[in-house]
């Protein structure tokens, strides 16, 4: 995941190094301001990464992400998969000795990544969130079958998970028709101009 321009190989010492002085200082400030989390307090004990249930799927473990943040690696951080894989279970923040709210940091980074139009580290997860949002805009509630079907269509993964889908359908856990609210126009007012429109 690390491009050549990101880490400059030090030929004498061997492993690549990050030149701290070349980092984007404003990046750290912005994350601290937006999230309200004092990221600088992290002393790299790695408790967060030890406890994270999904760390094995992440490109950077949470502690490494914080380190990159401290070094101002804006592009690297905003385009990573970790921020999308985080489900905000808060296992890390409940165990962090410095009581850092890591899921707030992750949410801030996701919002910043969208705003900066950074390459999305896990595009399928963003597709899913957008499908949920469209369902909310349309019905005021989530229509799970519709979300799943459109998500599958967008990600081209029709046959993955078919067995689970059928089981859920058989158990009447996926409704054919959406449960919709009566005053959908009130929800439309809430959504006005808020969602990124899909380009076909």
């Amino acid at each position: 995941m690390v491009g050549k321009g990101d880490l400059r190989a030090d030929h004498k010492a061997g492993p690549p190094v990050i030149e701290a002085s070349r980092g984007d200082r404003g990046f750290l400030e912005e994350v601290v301001r937006r999230s309200g989390v004092q990221v600088r307090r992290c002393f790299q004990c790695r408790t967060c990464s030890g406890g994270c249930p999904f760390v094995q799927a992440m490109d950077y473990p949470p502690n490494v992400l914080l380190r990159l943040l401290l070094y101002g690696r804006r592009r690297q951080v905003l385009s990573c998969g970790t921020i999308w894989l985080c489900v905000s279970c808060n296992t890390c923040s409940s165990q962090c000795p410095m009581a850092l709210d890591l899921s707030a940091v992750m949410e801030t980074l996701r919002i910043m990544a969208l705003k900066a139009r950074a390459p999305i580290g896990r595009p399928n997860i963003l597709e899913f969130h957008e499908e949920v949002a469209r369902s909310l805009e349309r019905y005021g509630r989530t229509h799970k079958l519709g979300i799943m079907l459109r998500y599958k269509l967008l990600t081209g993964s029709w046959f993955s998970d078919l067995d689970v889908g059928l089981k859920m359908f058989a158990k009447r856990k996926l409704e054919l028709f959406p449960s919709r609210i009566k005053q959908v126009h009130e929800v439309a007012r809430v959504f006005e101009g808020q969602l990124r429109r899909k380009k076909k």
Binding site: P53, I111, H129, R172, Q194
Partner: protein, 285 residues
């Protein structure tokens, strides 16, 4: 601050309980009716915003939760069962309290006032107010056959900025022990179920869910009891190990203990068959 006679509440089911977890909704209604509580469904409620919306649009997620608050009659507490819904409703209420101009703008949008003194509570807090002794006295069946892992999920008490009116950890154990069940505390009760990754990246979730399930079996549990409907679903649909135990919604075992008889429909919707265990409870009654 308690409602008239302490018996009437506005109720926010949320999307999961309305659809995939109808069995949780129905058993909750049944249990509440037996207890003499009136849970009055919030008229025309909408989704709380769930985990997806805050990333895509803060104003939209704020607005979604705020609309629900604007629908709630101020004189009775608003009760949620889903921890995520509770979290969003509560944090939005707090935000609107601190940002009156945002509140005014939203009130204008909905043409309804939002009462920031509204009480938003979880059903476990309703039980707390009801009283454990009273609940125990009402029980018609003993939950003795259940050796359960109390699985609270991540959202009920973990987010650092939750408004803490109540300490939830231990509630499940206390209530179910009073109703005769035995807690099994050596399993991975605090491991996350995977939330939305269950849809987007099942290959990541399955090993974690299997770990949870295997730890429950190894610790000698014969079921898990969850507070969160999404946890219940993920633990059931994503576990692929041979030896599995059923996962109950808390409301189901509560209603069962209180003597509900219309449980067939609820348990019919489970993916891991809980009937043998339910039969033991019913027979033992």
């Amino acid at each position: 601050m308690s409602s008239p006679r302490g018996q009437e509440y506005s109720y926010f089911p949320g999307c999961s309980l309305e659809t995939t977890a109808q069995e949780s909704n129905r058993s909750l209604m049944r249990g509440a009716a037996i207890m003499g509580l009136r849970l009055i469904e919030l008229e025309d409620w909408n989704c709380c915003g769930s985990s997806s919306l805050p990333t895509l649009s803060k104003p939209a997620s704020l607005g979604m939760a705020a609309r629900n608050l604007s629908l709630a009659p101020p004189h009775r507490p608003l009760v949620a069962m889903c921890p995520r819904c509770l979290h969003y409703l509560r944090s939005t209420l707090k935000y609107l309290k601190e940002h009156p101009r945002k509140r005014l703008a939203l009130e204008k949008k909905f043409d309804r006032p939002i009462d920031t003194d509204l009480e938003v509570i979880h059903f476990l807090e309703v039980l707390d107010r009801f009283g454990l002794a009273r609940l125990e006295a009402m029980a018609r069946r003993s939950l003795k056959p259940l050796r359960f892992v109390p699985y609270y999920g991540c959202t009920l008490y973990r987010p650092p900025h939750l408004e803490r009116h109540h300490y939830f950890q231990g509630d499940l154990d206390r209530i179910l022990v009073a109703l005769g069940a035995a807690p099994v505390n050596r399993a991975l009760a605090y491991r996350c179920c995977g939330s939305f990754l269950s849809v987007t990246n099942p290959e990541v979730v399955t090993p974690v869910v299997n770990e949870i399930m295997t730890s429950a079996v190894a610790a000698g549990a014969n079921c898990l009891v969850t507070i969160c409907a999404m946890c219940q679903l993920n633990l059931e649909i994503r576990s692929t190990v041979k030896k599995r135990v059923p996962v109950f919604h808390f409301s189901e075992v509560l209603a069962l203990a209180l003597g509900a008889d219309d449980y067939e429909d609820w348990f019919d919707r489970h993916l891991v068959n809980p009937r043998p265990l339910v039969q033991q409870v019913v027979a033992g009654g």
